[in-house]
Point group: C2
């Protein structure tokens, strides 16, 4: 099998070096190149500083087959990338007439006279392929490999500007340049409400080296992504390998455990909303410790208003009683964080809203409020629908924010399992995540 071409990514900007932002351009470009069969061998971030930019680029040119730079293409003296690139490739900077016209047009459109120094943004290394910018000012460009120099892609910093450019560059330049590169498939299965350690155990033999398809788990507060990666030469073979590995994974964890899968995988809230819409079901939420996060997650999605008919945030005991009709005696006897209170909240929300199904959440998010019997992280959930009610207790690890995020996911996943008639606990449910 061919070796993946080596890519180096260089990000420009002193904000990154002052720690104001994480370098998400490097991250997003890395994912894109990895999935296209490349190997990203290094990231660098450098400030607006000509000698350091030159040294960083020179190092990258020495062992990469493609260098991708973002930022540093603006009109000010700080923006040194075009000069450094032209210098290291031994090329003159030549004004691109169409790029200049696009710059002037952009300013005209906004009713501003372009400062004359801005025209430097249209000065590009001789022989480059210009990537015209329809979404901002600075054009990007692609330099094919010359003599000892690898190919280079220079992109502006804002993602909405570089994304369409890189799509074009892949189609028109990069694919042809590395025609023999490996093919790669990355396929993900998304799972909720399952302990990472339990999944690890269930899939342990599939992680072993020698498998022709790699498997990895990425866990984040109740969301677990099972990532399948196949690298090879033949598209049909890759599809076969991914499909075989997918079958092995589902055989161990259960066909319906993943709430979504594939390239354009939906989020848990999208999957739940779609399942409810298909069945014409409506939902109500009654939240204590999540404080509105379950409703917020569902309303992130356009069109959720027809499904989420009402939500209550009843953080105080009085509100649980007054708004949801929870018997104050129940709260007094069993506590606000109890099976009985959770059930009463869900039943009250369903009764008051007329929704087909209601979900309640009441727990101790911390940092204080825990006891030996009910430690911080203890959360009760209840579902109420025409079939009756069900309650579940979970104990989540981590700080207040982690407990609340786990709880939000758990609530959504319980509703999903209920309406799909899946076992609420099977197949992988440890008593505590």
């Amino acid at each position: 099998m061919a070796r993946p071409p080596r890519v180096r990514i260089i990000s420009t900007g002193s904000e990154i070096l002052q720690g104001l932002y994480p370098d998400t351009n490097a991250q997003n470009l890395s994912r894109l190149f990895f999935e296209q069969g490349f190997e990203v061998v290094g990231h660098s971030a450098v400030g607006d500083h000509r000698p350091r930019t030159r040294a960083t680029l020179e190092n990258a040119l020495s062992d990469a087959e493609l260098v991708v730079m973002t930022g540093g293409l603006g009109p000010t003296e700080d923006d040194v990338n075009r000069f450094v690139i032209a210098e290291l490739y031994g090329l003159a900077l030549v004004r691109d007439a169409r790029a200049e016209e696009m710059l002037r047009e952009r300013f005209r459109y906004r009713g501003i006279t372009m400062p004359e120094r801005n025209v430097v943004q249209a000065d590009l290394p001789a022989g480059c392929r210009t990537l015209y910018n329809h979404w901002g000012t600075a054009p990007g460009f692609f330099l094919p490999p010359v003599q000892a120099r690898p190919a280079l892609l220079a992109l502006p910093g804002p993602p909405k500007e570089w994304r369409p450019m890189i799509e074009r560059a892949f189609e028109e330049e990069i694919s042809d340049l590395f025609p023999g590169r490996p093919r790669r498939r990355v396929y993900s299965l998304h799972v909720s409400m399952t302990a990472e350690s339990t999944l690890n155990e269930a899939l342990s033999d599939l992680f072993r080296e020698g498998q022709d398809t790699e498997l990895a788990l990425l866990a984040n507060r109740g969301h677990i992504r099972i990532r399948l990666i196949a690298t090879g030469e033949d598209d049909a073979d890759l599809d076969r390998r991914i499909s075989a590995m997918r079958a092995k994974v589902l055989d161990r964890i259960g066909e319906k455990l993943p709430y979504s899968e594939g390239q354009d995988a939906t989020t848990l809230e999208e999957a739940l909303l779609a399942a409810m819409q298909q069945r014409g079901l409506t939902l109500a939420t009654a939240e204590s410790c999540t404080g509105g996060w379950v409703a917020k997650a569902l309303t992130d999605i356009a069109g959720s208003s027809a499904t989420l008919v009402a939500g209550w945030v009843t953080y105080s005991n009085e509100a649980k009683a007054r708004e949801l009709g929870v018997d104050p005696g129940v709260i007094e006897e069993h506590g606000a964080v109890s099976e009985e209170t959770a059930r009463a909240m869900a039943e009250g929300a369903r009764r008051k809203s007329g929704a087909d199904i209601a979900i309640s959440v009441t727990g101790i998010a911390g940092p204080s409020g825990g006891s030996e019997e009910k430690p911080v992280g203890t959360v009760w959930f209840a579902l109420s629908d025409a079939r009756g009610s069900e309650a579940r207790r979970r104990v989540f690890p981590g700080d207040r924010d982690a407990v609340r995020e786990f709880s939000m996911r758990q609530a959504l996943e319980l509703v999903r399992r209920r309406i799909l008639s899946l076992d609420l606990d099977a197949p992988l449910h440890p008593s505590s995540l």
Copy 2:
């Protein structure tokens, strides 16, 4: 003034190069060193690959005065940092007896026999100062400068492990090593509900070069951070400069516009909650397009239950009428997104909850649902309290998520201004953010 010492940061891990995560270690270390008077001149990320790690470190050593590496200190063959560092510094690896004992103890505590190969984590370059790890397995270490080699700090990857180590390293090693470095003060003022362009204009002369204190604006969906940076030699002088610049800024934007300021600045929701608690006031929320986000933001904070007495998510017209008592005729005549509906929602929420003040949000978050008269991004807010009710219309830019986040901040800021008796619109309010 002394030049800030040059720092280079190297992150290790193939997950970063595959784009699975952004490099937040590099970001957080950069902020820390910047605020301590250093200049971070470059970041690099490298995979678990010995020759590439060696080349990356060698480059960093050639022009930095301090190199900071994270990750690559695990027990597997992939973890090459200790070998590469020892090699480039010409030092032998020597077993640290205390580090070994801590490793064994950690495994004993968890009831697991330590695999013998894990003991390599206690092998450290001769002459280093060990940074013992009380929060995980891999110890870190500090190498003072030797001959042509700069100082080096090797840290494990997880932040909860490296944070306490770097604190110790600053105190015991780094401060002494760069005693003459510049002093720096970074001071922030946090503002909400103000257009960035309006602030830019109000402060324009203060951005000019030649000011002895730098000023920068960082805007993110309704949260604007005004950042003051002073660099110099004398702490008292820095304090004086920051204080003078702060006075100039407040003179232009109004003394009470910032909801928080200083080193340990609170979030908007914390500031609002503290102001309400001081006055013994309670709050209710009635949310349509934000779908629970306002309540979620407030309940992020421990202890909010005494203040937020109830919240409603009334995304549908039926729920607005049924739960909050909004007259269906009002919705029919004026629409769900209107001053009249917003006022009726806030009044209903206050009446039903008995809260001192209620805030409502109803708007068109998009992507669909807009019209010429009420474009996507149009949001109405209303406040209701003993003094009566107030309503405000805003039009926010961006996608659904942006409109919802702007709206959440706007709602919190309106309540804050109401209870502090500030003008809801002054001093900087453009009709549209």
